[in-house]
Amino acid sequence: MQIITSIKNNLSDTMVMSGRCMRHAFRSMDTLITVIATPIFIMLMFVYVFGGAIDTGSINYINFVVPGIVIMCIATGTGYSSMRLNNDMTKGIIDRFRSMPIAKSSILAAHVLTSVVFNAFSVLVVMLSALLMGFRTQTGIIEWLVVIGILLLFTLALTWISMMFGLLANSVEGAVGYSYLFLILIFLSSAFVPIKSMHGIVRTFAEYQPMTPIIESIRSLLTGVSVGNSALIATLWCSGMLVASYIAAMQIYKHKLG
Protein backbone atom coordinates (compact mmCIF):
# COMPACT_ATOMS: atom_id res chain seq x y z
CA MET A 1 0.00 0.00 0.00
CA GLN A 2 2.78 2.37 0.98
CA ILE A 3 4.66 1.45 -2.18
CA ILE A 4 1.62 2.20 -4.32
CA THR A 5 1.18 5.62 -2.68
CA SER A 6 4.83 6.35 -3.17
CA ILE A 7 4.72 5.40 -6.88
CA LYS A 8 1.57 7.47 -7.30
CA ASN A 9 3.19 10.49 -5.65
CA ASN A 10 6.32 10.02 -7.70
CA LEU A 11 4.34 9.96 -10.96
CA SER A 12 2.23 12.90 -9.89
CA ASP A 13 5.32 14.97 -8.98
CA THR A 14 6.93 14.17 -12.32
CA MET A 15 3.78 15.18 -14.20
CA VAL A 16 3.45 18.48 -12.31
CA MET A 17 7.12 19.27 -12.86
CA SER A 18 6.83 18.36 -16.54
CA GLY A 19 3.82 20.63 -16.93
CA ARG A 20 5.88 23.47 -15.53
CA CYS A 21 8.85 22.66 -17.72
CA MET A 22 6.77 22.42 -20.91
CA ARG A 23 5.29 25.84 -20.23
CA HIS A 24 8.84 27.15 -19.99
CA ALA A 25 9.73 25.63 -23.34
CA PHE A 26 6.61 26.55 -25.28
CA ARG A 27 6.20 30.04 -23.80
CA SER A 28 9.70 31.16 -24.66
CA MET A 29 9.63 33.09 -27.92
CA ASP A 30 13.39 32.97 -28.04
CA THR A 31 13.38 29.16 -27.92
CA LEU A 32 10.71 28.83 -30.59
CA ILE A 33 12.51 31.20 -32.94
CA THR A 34 15.97 29.74 -32.49
CA VAL A 35 14.98 26.09 -32.51
CA ILE A 36 12.31 26.13 -35.21
CA ALA A 37 12.73 29.25 -37.33
CA THR A 38 16.52 29.06 -37.67
CA PRO A 39 16.64 25.57 -39.26
CA ILE A 40 13.80 26.57 -41.58
CA PHE A 41 15.70 29.70 -42.57
CA ILE A 42 18.91 27.74 -43.17
CA MET A 43 16.94 25.23 -45.23
CA LEU A 44 15.54 28.08 -47.33
CA MET A 45 19.03 29.46 -47.85
CA PHE A 46 20.51 26.15 -48.88
CA VAL A 47 17.63 25.08 -51.07
CA TYR A 48 17.11 28.37 -52.92
CA VAL A 49 20.56 29.99 -52.76
CA PHE A 50 23.46 27.53 -52.44
CA GLY A 51 21.68 24.30 -53.34
CA GLY A 52 21.85 24.85 -57.08
CA ALA A 53 25.64 24.88 -56.92
CA ILE A 54 25.93 21.63 -54.96
CA ASP A 55 26.03 18.39 -56.89
CA THR A 56 23.97 15.77 -55.08
CA GLY A 57 23.73 13.37 -57.98
CA SER A 58 20.32 11.93 -58.70
CA ILE A 59 18.82 13.24 -55.41
CA ASN A 60 16.92 16.51 -55.33
CA TYR A 61 18.78 19.02 -53.11
CA ILE A 62 15.83 19.52 -50.75
CA ASN A 63 15.59 15.77 -50.23
CA PHE A 64 19.34 15.71 -49.65
CA VAL A 65 19.38 18.45 -47.03
CA VAL A 66 16.34 17.60 -44.85
CA PRO A 67 18.07 14.99 -42.62
CA GLY A 68 20.88 17.41 -41.76
CA ILE A 69 18.41 20.21 -41.04
CA VAL A 70 16.41 17.95 -38.72
CA ILE A 71 19.55 16.89 -36.85
CA MET A 72 20.53 20.53 -36.52
CA CYS A 73 17.10 21.35 -35.16
CA ILE A 74 17.54 18.70 -32.46
CA ALA A 75 21.03 19.93 -31.59
CA THR A 76 19.82 23.51 -30.99
CA GLY A 77 16.67 22.24 -29.30
CA THR A 78 18.60 20.26 -26.71
CA GLY A 79 20.84 23.29 -26.17
CA TYR A 80 17.74 24.95 -24.76
CA SER A 81 16.99 21.87 -22.64
CA SER A 82 20.39 22.34 -21.07
CA MET A 83 19.66 26.01 -20.50
CA ARG A 84 16.33 25.31 -18.79
CA LEU A 85 17.84 22.75 -16.44
CA ASN A 86 20.76 25.05 -15.64
CA ASN A 87 18.33 27.87 -14.87
CA ASP A 88 16.43 25.67 -12.46
CA MET A 89 19.54 24.36 -10.75
CA THR A 90 21.21 27.73 -10.24
CA LYS A 91 18.25 29.91 -9.23
CA GLY A 92 16.45 30.18 -5.90
CA ILE A 93 13.65 27.86 -6.96
CA ILE A 94 15.78 24.74 -6.57
CA ASP A 95 16.11 25.48 -2.85
CA ARG A 96 12.34 25.59 -2.57
CA PHE A 97 11.96 22.26 -4.38
CA ARG A 98 14.75 20.65 -2.37
CA SER A 99 13.18 21.73 0.92
CA MET A 100 9.87 20.11 -0.07
CA PRO A 101 8.94 16.43 0.31
CA ILE A 102 8.88 15.67 -3.42
CA ALA A 103 10.28 12.78 -5.45
CA LYS A 104 13.93 13.66 -6.05
CA SER A 105 13.97 12.26 -9.56
CA SER A 106 11.01 14.38 -10.67
CA ILE A 107 12.99 17.51 -11.54
CA LEU A 108 15.41 15.78 -13.91
CA ALA A 109 12.72 13.48 -15.32
CA ALA A 110 10.58 16.51 -16.15
CA HIS A 111 13.43 18.15 -18.06
CA VAL A 112 14.16 14.98 -20.03
CA LEU A 113 10.49 14.48 -20.90
CA THR A 114 10.09 18.11 -21.94
CA SER A 115 13.19 17.93 -24.09
CA VAL A 116 11.88 14.89 -25.98
CA VAL A 117 8.39 16.34 -26.46
CA PHE A 118 9.64 19.77 -27.51
CA ASN A 119 12.12 18.31 -29.99
CA ALA A 120 9.50 15.99 -31.48
CA PHE A 121 7.28 19.03 -31.95
CA SER A 122 9.96 21.17 -33.58
CA VAL A 123 11.11 18.33 -35.87
CA LEU A 124 7.50 17.92 -36.97
CA VAL A 125 7.18 21.64 -37.78
CA VAL A 126 10.49 21.63 -39.68
CA MET A 127 9.46 18.52 -41.65
CA LEU A 128 6.13 20.11 -42.58
CA SER A 129 7.91 23.24 -43.81
CA ALA A 130 10.20 21.03 -45.85
CA LEU A 131 7.13 19.42 -47.38
CA LEU A 132 5.92 22.86 -48.44
CA MET A 133 9.32 23.51 -50.03
CA GLY A 134 9.07 20.39 -52.14
CA PHE A 135 10.49 17.66 -49.90
CA ARG A 136 9.11 14.27 -51.01
CA THR A 137 9.80 10.65 -50.00
CA GLN A 138 9.00 7.21 -51.36
CA THR A 139 9.29 5.58 -47.99
CA GLY A 140 7.34 2.69 -46.52
CA ILE A 141 6.04 2.38 -42.96
CA ILE A 142 8.98 0.22 -41.86
CA GLU A 143 11.54 2.75 -43.09
CA TRP A 144 9.66 5.58 -41.43
CA LEU A 145 9.63 3.66 -38.14
CA VAL A 146 13.38 3.13 -38.38
CA VAL A 147 13.88 6.84 -39.12
CA ILE A 148 11.73 7.78 -36.12
CA GLY A 149 13.69 5.28 -34.02
CA ILE A 150 17.05 6.79 -34.99
CA LEU A 151 15.77 10.35 -34.45
CA LEU A 152 14.39 9.39 -31.04
CA LEU A 153 17.64 7.73 -30.02
CA PHE A 154 19.59 10.76 -31.21
CA THR A 155 17.23 13.10 -29.32
CA LEU A 156 17.62 11.04 -26.14
CA ALA A 157 21.40 10.96 -26.48
CA LEU A 158 21.64 14.72 -27.00
CA THR A 159 19.09 15.32 -24.25
CA TRP A 160 21.18 13.44 -21.69
CA ILE A 161 24.33 15.20 -22.89
CA SER A 162 22.45 18.48 -22.44
CA MET A 163 21.38 17.40 -18.94
CA MET A 164 24.99 16.69 -18.08
CA PHE A 165 26.16 20.13 -19.23
CA GLY A 166 23.14 21.84 -17.69
CA LEU A 167 24.02 20.30 -14.33
CA LEU A 168 27.75 20.98 -14.60
CA ALA A 169 27.77 24.57 -15.86
CA ASN A 170 27.78 27.50 -13.47
CA SER A 171 25.96 29.73 -15.92
CA VAL A 172 23.47 29.51 -18.74
CA GLU A 173 26.14 30.52 -21.27
CA GLY A 174 28.26 27.58 -20.17
CA ALA A 175 25.30 25.27 -20.36
CA VAL A 176 24.50 25.95 -24.03
CA GLY A 177 28.14 26.07 -25.11
CA TYR A 178 28.37 22.36 -25.90
CA SER A 179 25.58 22.56 -28.48
CA TYR A 180 27.81 24.70 -30.74
CA LEU A 181 30.19 21.77 -30.85
CA PHE A 182 27.41 19.67 -32.37
CA LEU A 183 26.60 22.41 -34.86
CA ILE A 184 30.23 22.41 -36.00
CA LEU A 185 30.13 18.63 -36.31
CA ILE A 186 27.00 18.93 -38.41
CA PHE A 187 28.62 21.46 -40.77
CA LEU A 188 31.64 19.18 -41.06
CA SER A 189 29.50 16.19 -42.03
CA SER A 190 27.53 15.20 -45.08
CA ALA A 191 24.62 17.37 -43.93
CA PHE A 192 24.87 20.03 -46.65
CA VAL A 193 27.38 18.70 -49.19
CA PRO A 194 28.22 15.14 -50.21
CA ILE A 195 31.40 13.77 -48.61
CA LYS A 196 32.74 12.98 -52.08
CA SER A 197 33.19 16.68 -52.73
CA MET A 198 35.36 17.22 -49.60
CA HIS A 199 39.16 17.08 -49.53
CA GLY A 200 41.94 15.66 -47.42
CA ILE A 201 41.69 15.75 -43.67
CA VAL A 202 38.20 17.30 -43.64
CA ARG A 203 36.90 14.40 -45.67
CA THR A 204 38.49 11.81 -43.36
CA PHE A 205 37.07 13.62 -40.35
CA ALA A 206 33.61 13.82 -41.93
CA GLU A 207 33.67 10.11 -42.72
CA TYR A 208 34.43 8.99 -39.19
CA GLN A 209 32.50 11.41 -36.98
CA PRO A 210 29.06 10.38 -35.66
CA MET A 211 26.89 12.94 -37.48
CA THR A 212 27.67 11.51 -40.91
CA PRO A 213 26.28 7.97 -40.37
CA ILE A 214 23.28 9.39 -38.51
CA ILE A 215 22.46 11.75 -41.38
CA GLU A 216 23.39 9.22 -44.10
CA SER A 217 21.17 6.51 -42.64
CA ILE A 218 18.15 8.81 -42.39
CA ARG A 219 18.77 10.13 -45.90
CA SER A 220 19.07 6.65 -47.38
CA LEU A 221 15.89 5.50 -45.65
CA LEU A 222 13.95 8.56 -46.80
CA THR A 223 15.18 8.46 -50.42
CA GLY A 224 14.86 4.72 -50.83
CA VAL A 225 18.59 4.13 -51.29
CA SER A 226 20.24 1.06 -49.73
CA VAL A 227 21.17 1.90 -46.13
CA GLY A 228 24.25 -0.32 -45.85
CA ASN A 229 25.68 -0.41 -42.35
CA SER A 230 25.16 3.32 -41.65
CA ALA A 231 21.99 2.66 -39.61
CA LEU A 232 23.92 0.23 -37.40
CA ILE A 233 26.82 2.67 -36.93
CA ALA A 234 24.37 5.49 -36.19
CA THR A 235 22.61 3.34 -33.57
CA LEU A 236 25.91 2.41 -31.95
CA TRP A 237 27.08 6.03 -31.78
CA CYS A 238 23.76 7.23 -30.32
CA SER A 239 23.52 4.38 -27.81
CA GLY A 240 27.10 4.97 -26.68
CA MET A 241 26.54 8.70 -26.19
CA LEU A 242 23.24 7.99 -24.43
CA VAL A 243 24.62 5.46 -21.95
CA ALA A 244 27.73 7.49 -21.13
CA SER A 245 25.90 10.78 -20.65
CA TYR A 246 23.06 9.11 -18.71
CA ILE A 247 25.48 7.61 -16.20
CA ALA A 248 27.43 10.86 -15.87
CA ALA A 249 24.34 13.07 -15.56
CA MET A 250 22.71 10.83 -12.92
CA GLN A 251 25.92 10.83 -10.92
CA ILE A 252 26.20 14.63 -11.00
CA TYR A 253 22.49 15.04 -10.24
CA LYS A 254 22.66 12.82 -7.15
CA HIS A 255 25.74 14.65 -5.99
CA LYS A 256 24.13 18.06 -6.49
CA LEU A 257 20.84 17.24 -4.80
CA GLY A 258 22.65 15.49 -1.93
Binding site: M17, H24, K91, D95, P101
Partner: protein, 316 residues
Protein backbone atom coordinates in the same frame (compact mmCIF):
# COMPACT_ATOMS: atom_id res chain seq x y z
CA UNK B 1 15.46 16.33 25.73
CA UNK B 2 12.75 16.84 23.14
CA UNK B 3 9.60 18.11 24.74
CA UNK B 4 6.40 18.22 22.76
CA UNK B 5 6.38 22.00 22.98
CA UNK B 6 9.72 22.44 21.23
CA UNK B 7 9.64 23.04 17.48
CA UNK B 8 13.32 23.52 16.73
CA UNK B 9 16.25 22.33 18.75
CA UNK B 10 19.81 22.86 17.62
CA UNK B 11 22.87 21.69 19.49
CA UNK B 12 26.53 22.17 18.70
CA UNK B 13 26.05 22.88 14.98
CA UNK B 14 29.29 23.66 13.14
CA UNK B 15 29.80 24.35 9.46
CA UNK B 16 32.78 25.37 7.34
CA UNK B 17 33.20 26.15 3.67
CA UNK B 18 36.69 24.88 2.90
CA UNK B 19 38.84 26.79 5.40
CA UNK B 20 36.20 29.35 6.31
CA UNK B 21 34.44 28.55 9.58
CA UNK B 22 30.93 29.90 9.08
CA UNK B 23 29.06 28.46 12.09
CA UNK B 24 30.69 27.69 15.41
CA UNK B 25 28.88 25.54 17.99
CA UNK B 26 25.40 26.96 17.57
CA UNK B 27 22.74 26.06 20.15
CA UNK B 28 19.17 27.21 19.71
CA UNK B 29 15.79 26.17 21.08
CA UNK B 30 12.56 27.49 19.65
CA UNK B 31 9.16 26.93 21.30
CA UNK B 32 6.23 25.79 19.21
CA UNK B 33 4.10 28.67 17.93
CA UNK B 34 6.67 31.35 18.73
CA UNK B 35 8.60 33.74 16.50
CA UNK B 36 12.36 33.39 16.64
CA UNK B 37 14.64 35.98 15.03
CA UNK B 38 18.26 35.37 14.12
CA UNK B 39 19.79 38.83 13.94
CA UNK B 40 23.08 39.34 12.17
CA UNK B 41 24.95 41.48 9.66
CA UNK B 42 26.08 40.43 6.16
CA UNK B 43 28.08 37.26 6.12
CA UNK B 44 27.42 36.35 9.75
CA UNK B 45 26.04 32.93 8.76
CA UNK B 46 22.26 33.44 8.85
CA UNK B 47 21.53 31.85 5.48
CA UNK B 48 23.89 28.98 6.24
CA UNK B 49 21.95 28.29 9.44
CA UNK B 50 18.63 28.35 7.55
CA UNK B 51 20.02 26.01 4.89
CA UNK B 52 21.06 23.48 7.51
CA UNK B 53 17.67 23.60 9.24
CA UNK B 54 15.79 23.22 5.95
CA UNK B 55 17.85 20.15 4.93
CA UNK B 56 19.62 21.90 2.06
CA UNK B 57 23.05 21.69 3.66
CA UNK B 58 24.56 19.09 5.98
CA UNK B 59 26.28 20.35 9.13
CA UNK B 60 29.87 19.26 9.79
CA UNK B 61 29.12 18.66 13.46
CA UNK B 62 26.25 18.78 15.90
CA UNK B 63 22.62 18.01 15.28
CA UNK B 64 19.29 19.70 14.79
CA UNK B 65 15.73 18.53 15.14
CA UNK B 66 12.55 19.99 13.70
CA UNK B 67 9.41 18.75 15.48
CA UNK B 68 11.51 15.90 16.80
CA UNK B 69 12.87 14.81 13.40
CA UNK B 70 16.60 14.94 12.70
CA UNK B 71 17.44 17.23 9.76
CA UNK B 72 20.08 14.84 8.40
CA UNK B 73 18.76 11.36 9.13
CA UNK B 74 15.03 12.10 8.77
CA UNK B 75 15.17 14.79 6.12
CA UNK B 76 12.01 13.58 4.37
CA UNK B 77 9.92 13.88 7.54
CA UNK B 78 11.46 17.29 8.21
CA UNK B 79 10.56 18.45 4.70
CA UNK B 80 6.98 17.42 5.37
CA UNK B 81 6.85 19.77 8.36
CA UNK B 82 8.59 22.87 7.07
CA UNK B 83 8.56 25.47 4.37
CA UNK B 84 11.31 27.79 3.23
CA UNK B 85 11.15 31.33 1.91
CA UNK B 86 14.73 31.89 0.87
CA UNK B 87 16.70 35.10 0.67
CA UNK B 88 16.22 35.42 -3.08
CA UNK B 89 12.64 34.99 -4.23
CA UNK B 90 11.98 31.42 -5.38
CA UNK B 91 9.19 32.22 -7.80
CA UNK B 92 8.84 31.15 -11.41
CA UNK B 93 8.90 34.23 -13.64
CA UNK B 94 7.57 32.51 -16.74
CA UNK B 95 4.44 31.28 -14.97
CA UNK B 96 1.59 33.38 -13.63
CA UNK B 97 1.10 33.89 -9.90
CA UNK B 98 -1.79 31.45 -9.92
CA UNK B 99 0.22 28.78 -11.75
CA UNK B 100 3.07 29.19 -9.29
CA UNK B 101 0.78 28.54 -6.34
CA UNK B 102 -1.03 25.62 -7.98
CA UNK B 103 2.19 23.85 -8.82
CA UNK B 104 3.39 24.01 -5.23
CA UNK B 105 -0.04 22.91 -3.99
CA UNK B 106 0.02 19.90 -6.32
CA UNK B 107 3.58 19.02 -5.34
CA UNK B 108 2.33 19.00 -1.74
CA UNK B 109 -0.40 16.57 -2.93
CA UNK B 110 -3.23 18.76 -1.72
CA UNK B 111 -6.62 17.58 -2.90
CA UNK B 112 -7.89 21.17 -3.06
CA UNK B 113 -4.82 22.92 -4.50
CA UNK B 114 -6.98 25.18 -6.67
CA UNK B 115 -9.20 26.40 -3.82
CA UNK B 116 -6.21 26.92 -1.59
CA UNK B 117 -4.59 28.94 -4.37
CA UNK B 118 -7.60 31.25 -4.62
CA UNK B 119 -7.68 31.72 -0.85
CA UNK B 120 -4.02 32.70 -0.73
CA UNK B 121 -4.29 35.04 -3.72
CA UNK B 122 -7.12 36.77 -1.89
CA UNK B 123 -5.30 36.89 1.42
CA UNK B 124 -2.13 38.34 -0.11
CA UNK B 125 -3.98 40.86 -2.31
CA UNK B 126 -2.65 39.27 -5.49
CA UNK B 127 -6.01 38.50 -7.12
CA UNK B 128 -5.72 41.27 -9.71
CA UNK B 129 -2.28 40.11 -10.81
CA UNK B 130 -3.05 36.40 -10.48
CA UNK B 131 -3.08 35.66 -14.19
CA UNK B 132 -0.15 37.82 -15.16
CA UNK B 133 3.32 36.38 -15.59
CA UNK B 134 5.45 36.88 -12.49
CA UNK B 135 8.11 38.56 -14.66
CA UNK B 136 5.81 41.61 -14.59
CA UNK B 137 5.51 41.67 -10.77
CA UNK B 138 7.19 44.27 -8.56
CA UNK B 139 9.71 43.20 -5.95
CA UNK B 140 7.14 43.46 -3.17
CA UNK B 141 4.60 41.37 -5.09
CA UNK B 142 7.20 38.69 -5.72
CA UNK B 143 8.05 38.59 -2.04
CA UNK B 144 4.38 38.17 -1.18
CA UNK B 145 3.87 35.44 -3.77
CA UNK B 146 7.02 33.76 -2.52
CA UNK B 147 5.62 33.66 0.99
CA UNK B 148 2.19 32.54 -0.22
CA UNK B 149 3.89 29.64 -2.02
CA UNK B 150 5.52 28.66 1.26
CA UNK B 151 2.21 28.64 3.11
CA UNK B 152 0.15 26.58 0.69
CA UNK B 153 0.90 23.27 2.36
CA UNK B 154 0.08 24.55 5.90
CA UNK B 155 3.55 23.84 7.28
CA UNK B 156 4.19 23.63 11.04
CA UNK B 157 7.48 25.51 10.93
CA UNK B 158 8.14 28.37 8.53
CA UNK B 159 11.66 29.58 7.72
CA UNK B 160 11.99 33.12 6.39
CA UNK B 161 15.41 34.37 5.29
CA UNK B 162 15.35 38.18 5.47
CA UNK B 163 11.65 38.44 4.60
CA UNK B 164 11.53 42.24 4.51
CA UNK B 165 14.84 43.13 2.86
CA UNK B 166 14.08 45.27 -0.17
CA UNK B 167 10.49 46.07 0.83
CA UNK B 168 9.19 49.61 1.25
CA UNK B 169 7.98 50.67 4.73
CA UNK B 170 4.39 49.77 3.90
CA UNK B 171 5.36 46.41 2.49
CA UNK B 172 7.43 45.75 5.55
CA UNK B 173 4.55 46.47 7.91
CA UNK B 174 2.16 44.27 5.97
CA UNK B 175 4.78 41.50 5.99
CA UNK B 176 5.04 41.88 9.77
CA UNK B 177 1.27 41.51 10.06
CA UNK B 178 1.32 38.35 7.98
CA UNK B 179 4.08 36.90 10.14
CA UNK B 180 2.22 37.74 13.35
CA UNK B 181 -0.98 36.16 12.03
CA UNK B 182 0.98 33.03 11.18
CA UNK B 183 2.29 32.83 14.69
CA UNK B 184 -1.18 33.37 16.15
CA UNK B 185 -2.47 30.45 14.12
CA UNK B 186 0.08 28.23 15.85
CA UNK B 187 2.81 28.15 13.22
CA UNK B 188 6.40 28.40 14.44
CA UNK B 189 8.38 31.10 12.64
CA UNK B 190 12.17 31.13 12.33
CA UNK B 191 13.32 34.28 10.58
CA UNK B 192 16.58 36.08 9.94
CA UNK B 193 16.99 39.82 9.76
CA UNK B 194 19.58 42.57 9.72
CA UNK B 195 17.25 45.00 11.43
CA UNK B 196 17.01 45.42 15.17
CA UNK B 197 13.58 47.03 15.02
CA UNK B 198 12.22 44.13 13.01
CA UNK B 199 13.37 41.62 15.59
CA UNK B 200 12.11 43.97 18.28
CA UNK B 201 8.61 44.26 16.77
CA UNK B 202 8.14 40.63 15.84
CA UNK B 203 10.17 38.17 17.79
CA UNK B 204 9.43 36.40 21.04
CA UNK B 205 13.05 35.34 21.19
CA UNK B 206 16.09 36.93 19.52
CA UNK B 207 19.57 35.55 18.99
CA UNK B 208 22.37 37.76 17.75
CA UNK B 209 24.73 36.00 15.38
CA UNK B 210 28.18 37.44 14.86
CA UNK B 211 30.90 35.75 12.82
CA UNK B 212 29.17 32.41 13.23
CA UNK B 213 28.65 32.60 16.97
CA UNK B 214 25.55 33.46 18.97
CA UNK B 215 26.80 36.32 21.10
CA UNK B 216 23.56 37.22 22.85
CA UNK B 217 20.14 35.69 23.24
CA UNK B 218 16.91 36.66 24.89
CA UNK B 219 13.66 38.55 24.52
CA UNK B 220 13.77 42.02 23.02
CA UNK B 221 13.45 43.54 26.50
CA UNK B 222 16.30 41.45 27.86
CA UNK B 223 18.58 42.41 24.99
CA UNK B 224 17.75 46.08 25.28
CA UNK B 225 19.03 46.12 28.84
CA UNK B 226 22.38 45.13 27.47
CA UNK B 227 22.61 47.91 24.91
CA UNK B 228 23.14 51.64 25.21
CA UNK B 229 20.20 53.95 24.65
CA UNK B 230 21.88 55.58 21.74
CA UNK B 231 23.94 58.71 22.01
CA UNK B 232 23.75 62.47 21.65
CA UNK B 233 25.87 64.67 19.48
CA UNK B 234 26.77 68.23 20.52
CA UNK B 235 28.21 70.67 18.01
CA UNK B 236 30.21 73.81 18.98
CA UNK B 237 31.39 76.97 17.27
CA UNK B 238 35.13 76.33 17.35
CA UNK B 239 37.92 74.08 18.56
CA UNK B 240 38.48 75.99 21.76
CA UNK B 241 34.87 75.68 22.86
CA UNK B 242 34.63 72.02 21.98
CA UNK B 243 37.70 71.28 24.09
CA UNK B 244 36.35 73.28 27.03
CA UNK B 245 33.09 71.38 26.73
CA UNK B 246 34.89 68.07 26.76
CA UNK B 247 36.69 69.01 29.97
CA UNK B 248 33.41 70.05 31.56
CA UNK B 249 31.75 66.77 30.59
CA UNK B 250 34.70 64.61 31.55
CA UNK B 251 32.63 62.15 33.61
CA UNK B 252 30.41 61.26 30.61
CA UNK B 253 33.30 59.85 28.57
CA UNK B 254 32.57 62.20 25.71
CA UNK B 255 34.47 61.43 22.52
CA UNK B 256 35.83 64.38 20.62
CA UNK B 257 35.76 65.00 16.89
CA UNK B 258 38.07 68.01 16.51
CA UNK B 259 37.59 68.38 12.80
CA UNK B 260 33.84 68.90 13.11
CA UNK B 261 33.92 70.41 16.59
CA UNK B 262 31.50 67.84 17.94
CA UNK B 263 31.24 65.71 21.06
CA UNK B 264 29.53 62.30 21.09
CA UNK B 265 28.19 61.02 24.40
CA UNK B 266 26.54 57.67 25.09
CA UNK B 267 23.44 58.21 27.21
CA UNK B 268 21.05 56.11 29.24
CA UNK B 269 18.18 57.84 27.49
CA UNK B 270 16.90 59.61 30.62
CA UNK B 271 15.72 63.20 30.54
CA UNK B 272 17.56 63.86 33.79
CA UNK B 273 20.93 63.01 32.32
CA UNK B 274 20.24 65.11 29.25
CA UNK B 275 19.28 68.15 31.33
CA UNK B 276 22.38 67.71 33.49
CA UNK B 277 24.62 67.78 30.46
CA UNK B 278 22.97 70.84 28.94
CA UNK B 279 22.87 72.69 32.28
CA UNK B 280 26.52 72.14 32.89
CA UNK B 281 27.41 73.64 29.52
CA UNK B 282 25.03 76.54 30.09
CA UNK B 283 26.60 77.29 33.50
CA UNK B 284 30.09 77.01 31.99
CA UNK B 285 29.10 79.62 29.43
CA UNK B 286 29.61 77.38 26.41
CA UNK B 287 26.73 77.63 23.94
CA UNK B 288 25.65 74.50 22.08
CA UNK B 289 25.43 75.22 18.37
CA UNK B 290 23.94 71.92 17.19
CA UNK B 291 22.18 69.23 19.18
CA UNK B 292 21.03 65.85 17.92
CA UNK B 293 20.00 62.55 19.45
CA UNK B 294 20.75 59.24 17.77
CA UNK B 295 18.69 56.13 18.55
CA UNK B 296 20.52 52.85 19.05
CA UNK B 297 21.29 51.12 15.79
CA UNK B 298 22.09 47.52 15.16
CA UNK B 299 25.66 48.62 14.97
CA UNK B 300 25.54 50.01 18.52
CA UNK B 301 24.13 46.74 19.76
CA UNK B 302 26.75 44.77 17.96
CA UNK B 303 29.58 47.00 19.01
CA UNK B 304 28.51 46.87 22.63
CA UNK B 305 27.78 43.18 22.77
CA UNK B 306 30.72 42.16 20.66
CA UNK B 307 32.91 44.46 22.73
CA UNK B 308 31.73 42.80 25.94
CA UNK B 309 32.15 39.41 24.35
CA UNK B 310 35.75 40.11 23.42
CA UNK B 311 36.41 41.29 26.95
CA UNK B 312 35.01 38.03 28.31
CA UNK B 313 37.11 36.04 25.91
CA UNK B 314 40.17 37.90 27.14
CA UNK B 315 39.49 37.21 30.81
CA UNK B 316 39.02 33.50 30.26
Amino acid sequence: MIGTDIAISVSGIEKSYKNLKVLKKINVTVQKGSIFALLGSNGSGKTTMIKILTTLLKPDKGNAQICGFDVVRQSDQVRGKISLTGQSAAVDEILTGRENLRIIGKLRHLSDANNKTDELLEQFHLIDAADRRVATYSGGMRRKLDLAMSLIGTPSVVFLDEPTTGLDPQGRISMWEIIRDLSHSGVTVFLTTQYLDEADHLADQIAILNEGKIVAEGTAAELKKMIPHGHIELGFRDEKEVELARDLLDEYNASLDEEHQTLTIATDGSLKQMTNILNRLENGGIPVAVFSQKLPTLEDVFLTIIGKNKGKGHDA
